[in-house]
Amino acid sequence: MTELTNLTIAEAREGLRGKSFSARELAEAHVDAIDKANDALNVYVLPTPERALDMAKASDARLKKGEAGVLEGIPLGIKDLFCTKGVRTTACSHILDGFTPTYESTVTANLWAEGAVMLGKLNNDEFAMGSSNETSFYGPVVNPWQRKGSNAKLVPGGSSGGSSAAVAARLCMGATATDTGGSIRQPAAVTGTVGIKPTYGRCSRWGIVAFASSLDQAGPIARNVRDAAILLKVMASSDPKDTTSVDLPVPDYEAAVGKGVKGLTIGIPKEYRVPGMAPEIETLWQQGVEWLKAAGANIKEVNLPHTKYALPSYYIVAPAEASSNLARYDGVRYGLREKGSDVISMYENTRASGFGAEVKRRILIGTYVLSAGYYDAYYLKAQKVRTLIKQDFDNAFEEVDVILTPTTPGPAFALGEKTGDPVEMYLNDIFTVTVNMAGLPGLSVPAGLSSEGTPLGLQLIGKPFDEETLFRTGRVIEEAAGPLFKPHDWWSKAA
């Protein structure tokens, strides 16, 4: 039944309703595939096969009774940042060892209410801090894609590297992910998958382990634009438990897919042509422009003059908010506790052994920029720069409907290749982080292969709460780029 894992969500939805196969068969096909692949790819930190089969059984009963939800019987992977009731949730940090929530995040509760089936918890960078999934306490995820003629292990992007790799390797039909500086779009780009970070406030943050609260947003990673639209429709909601969630109705995103781009104006920001950008990224970007033009869109150059300041201001705002959010891990209420001679040394020892190097680095930067006398010079300054970045976009959106950029400055790199210099690693998010700083929606869609034979993505940036235009435009690029991007299976153990 391995071919079942190749279906898109839209196809599986038809198959389940038409009784070509059962939810149980669909879940079993995925459980088997995970069993064979997880040793090589390390995508799931906690597979939950029994739960998957139980949920699938319940889905079959509802399908039979004609009570199927929107995602009835669709097997999904859940990033380990989402609290799942009764299922260990650690944010892939040692400090949350054994933490088993007694509640469910709003986003995952929305998925289960529509009949989705949970396959397990997916690997991610520790507390979502990373761009390569190499900071996870459970070890790195391996990208199912390999360079032509090489078996070097490549990173799947980060922080949602388990989500992107699992979707690409057909180990779930779609996955939840979160994006604080690019953590949905960047991993989607380097694995040939589609990822959307919706507008800040579109998905509830309740029950998602917090990293930087003014930037964090949940969104899906899927194999094509339509599937991403189907998933986001269910994940998004207004939630009284998150005061930053908006009280706007959730549109039918799937209905926007296929509407085309005729008459839309696409903005091209020249500031994204950064020094040292690989020529093939420039070529891909130009190709995207040609595709959209051919589909009837108008192209217009726009100015986003504060682009270069987005990443440095992000590295003030995000660590500052993280240092505050992560203060809760004190060895008292949950997770790890190390011994100490008094309560302060218990805190210090617990946090020393519980947090990894990148998390400590960000906590210390955040503590420094928020410490007495520095608040105005750093955090307040960075929040003012955010206003300027937001104004750039507001001005651009007076003239255009959507903005097209590359998603990443290059294709997937090898494990260990960029772990030496933190700033070099941060530069992976140069094209995605502006979108978080301005709170806008951004979608990454596969657009071609690099000279190494690995996937590259294009990013679409939209007006606040205009995810529909991203799905419309993304579908046009996807169609022009050709059939689904699929790595060849080198990772499955023989049965």
């Binding site: 933490f99 007694t102 509640y103 507008t199 800040y200 406030g201 009284p240 005061t243 908006v246 009280d247 504060h306 270069k308 300041y309 440095p312 201001s313 590295y315 003030i316 240092s323 203060a327 060895g331 008292v332 209420r333 949950y334 997770g335 790890l336 506790r337 100490g340 001679s341 309560v343 040394s345 218990m346 805190y347 210090e348 020892n349 946090r351 020393a352 947090f355 400590k360 680095r361 906590i363 210390l364 930067i365 503590t367 420094y368 410490s371 307040l380 300054k381 960075a382 929040q383 720069v385 955010r386 206003t387 300027l388 937001k390 210099d421 700033v423 301005a438 709170g439 606040p464 709460f465």
Partner: protein, 95 residues
């Protein structure tokens, strides 16, 4: 170097993270590197700019001031490393 070893030690103490001498030496270099890189923000004059507080104009939501949750002490203590009779247990604080 934007930060020296003593500053690294001071902020680690503020953040309640014990660090080794080796870590302090590495962090001195890394934190200085990051802070030197973010210093490029000094190029922008933000004296007349308001800090960003929201993506789209919206009024802070309000709700009825009623109890919506509670009576779940067992749930709250379920993940505690040490608990006793509905209390979190911590090292002795007051002599």
């Amino acid at each position: 170097m934007s930060v020296d070893r003593a500053t690294v030690r001071r902020i680690a103490r503020l953040a309640r993270v014990a660090i080794t001498d080796e870590e302090a030496a590495r962090l001195e270099k890394e934190l200085s590197g990051i802070l030197d890189w973010v210093a490029q923000l000094d190029e922008i004059d933000t004296s007349a700019v308001e800090p960003m507080t929201r993506v789209a104009a919206m009024t802070m939501k309000q709700r009825e001031d009623v109890v919506t949750d509670g009576f779940c002490a067992d749930d709250i203590l379920k993940n505690a490393p040490m608990a006793d009779d509905h209390y979190f247990v911590v090292p002795k604080i007051v002599e």
